[in-house]
């Protein structure tokens, strides 16, 4: 039986990827951030999952505005790296797991999550920066990936509660796959940030800390946070945090917090990272 063994929450700020790609991780601006991610990277190197389900959002790269799926699942054999306007990131293409993705589609739709099926898709920094943070710069990624893209760009994003319940349905789907696989689920984006308008640069450390605490101790409460609270308290782009609730929902009731890290800033973002092992 396939099992979800752990969840990873992490920001996916594009500047973090650029710092790695341009060899700037030792600069004073970046060094504390990369030092803070070392324990997670080590944990990942020891855990060696077979599959990562990475919940992220596309930033007007794979999806223009012709079609905006609220939830989409990547079912391809391979996902090329998008050129987001400054050239492709120098990272290997992402290997998919079409058989398991197809199984997730069937299970999720019958479980009343009408997810959009995507058979060809480029992936952007939302997916690749978390991979870089956790696996560094390998020639080939040591894991197969099922991308789950969530619309958090056009308001409204799906509610936290809907995301939390999608996570639970993903857990059920994975556990009904008859192959010994160890699966980690990523929730990416956030934490507090706003990159638009005169209010740009907003950071709310208290909100972010309470969110990290809630992931471990009281996810049911987090699932009830209304969209307006993310926008007002933690910035227009902090709504990305609903994607962490998909990850948390996939872990079951009890989790063990293995590690957390928080740092301001990466570009305009409050950066958070948490590792939760499923109970």
């Amino acid at each position: 039986m396939a099992r979800i063994i752990a969840g990873v929450g992490t920001s996916h700020t594009p500047a973090i990827g650029a710092a790695v790609d341009n060899g700037r991780t030792h600069e004073p601006y970046w060094a504390p951030l990369f030092k803070g991610y070392e324990p997670s990277k080590k944990w990942m190197a020891e855990t060696k999952p077979d599959v990562a389900i990475i919940v992220y959002n596309d930033h007007v790269n794979a999806f223009d505005f012709k079609i905006i799926p609220t939830f989409a699942i990547g079912c391809a054999e391979e996902f090329p790296i998008a050129d987001e306007g400054w050239g492709q990131r120098p990272v290997p293409p992402v290997k998919g797991y079409p058989e398991l993705a197809a199984h997730l589609v069937q299970s999720l739709v019958l479980d009343e999550f009408d997810i959009t099926i995507v058979n060809e898709m480029q992936v952007d920094h939302g997916l690749t920066v978390p991979m870089t943070l956790m696996w560094g710069q390998p020639k080939e990624w040591p894991v197969r990936v099922i991308p789950i893209a969530v619309n958090v760009i056009q308001y409204p994003a799906p509610t936290g509660n809907r995301c939390y319940n999608l996570g639970k349905a993903i857990r059920k789907a994975v556990e009904s796959w008859d192959e010994d696989l160890r699966v980690v689920v990523f929730g990416t984006g956030g934490m507090s940030h706003q990159i638009q308008g005169p209010r740009a640069g907003l950071i709310n450390k208290e909100f972010d800390k309470a969110f990290l605490d809630g992931l471990t101790q009281d996810p049911e409460r987090l699932a009830q946070i209304p969209p307006i609270e993310y926008l007002r308290e933690a910035g227009a782009e902090a709504i990305e945090l609903v994607m962490w609730l998909i990850m948390r929902g996939a872990l079951g009731d009890n989790v063990k917090e293995v590690y957390r890290f928080y740092h301001v800033p990466a570009s305009s973002t409050g950066v958070g990272n948490i590792i939760l092992e499923a109970g």
Binding site: V60, D83, G85, Q154, Y155, E233, P265, S268
Partner: protein, 131 residues
Amino acid sequence: MSKKKEEYEDIPGTWVFDAQRARKGYHLNAFLYSLMKPENREEFLADERKYLMKFPMTEEQREAVIARDWNRLLELGGVSYALAKLAFTDKKSYQYMASQMVGVTEQEYVNMMLAGGRSPDGWRSKSERGE
């Protein structure tokens, strides 16, 4: 025909990219999306107005693009991630774009972030700011 005022419209200094704004910004964002291709970036920079005429956006939107009036572009339906492609076309960064929206220099913006960012205190509602 109008809708009731949404709660998020009371957040100061912010244009939430909601369904109505997305509708108005559709062709503007299609233009911005086209800047993902290097040949389009070149063509745009060679003659901005001529390139913009290919997209059925409003004249107001075209003028805001040419003026790099970032806040006006947000108001007219541009979404920040698409607007960033215009900043990249100008060889500028996200932080540069944000600094222009805030009305400070890029270095001042970077310094604000290094000092922990903007506190939400005083930025929660237009009414508390007397707007």
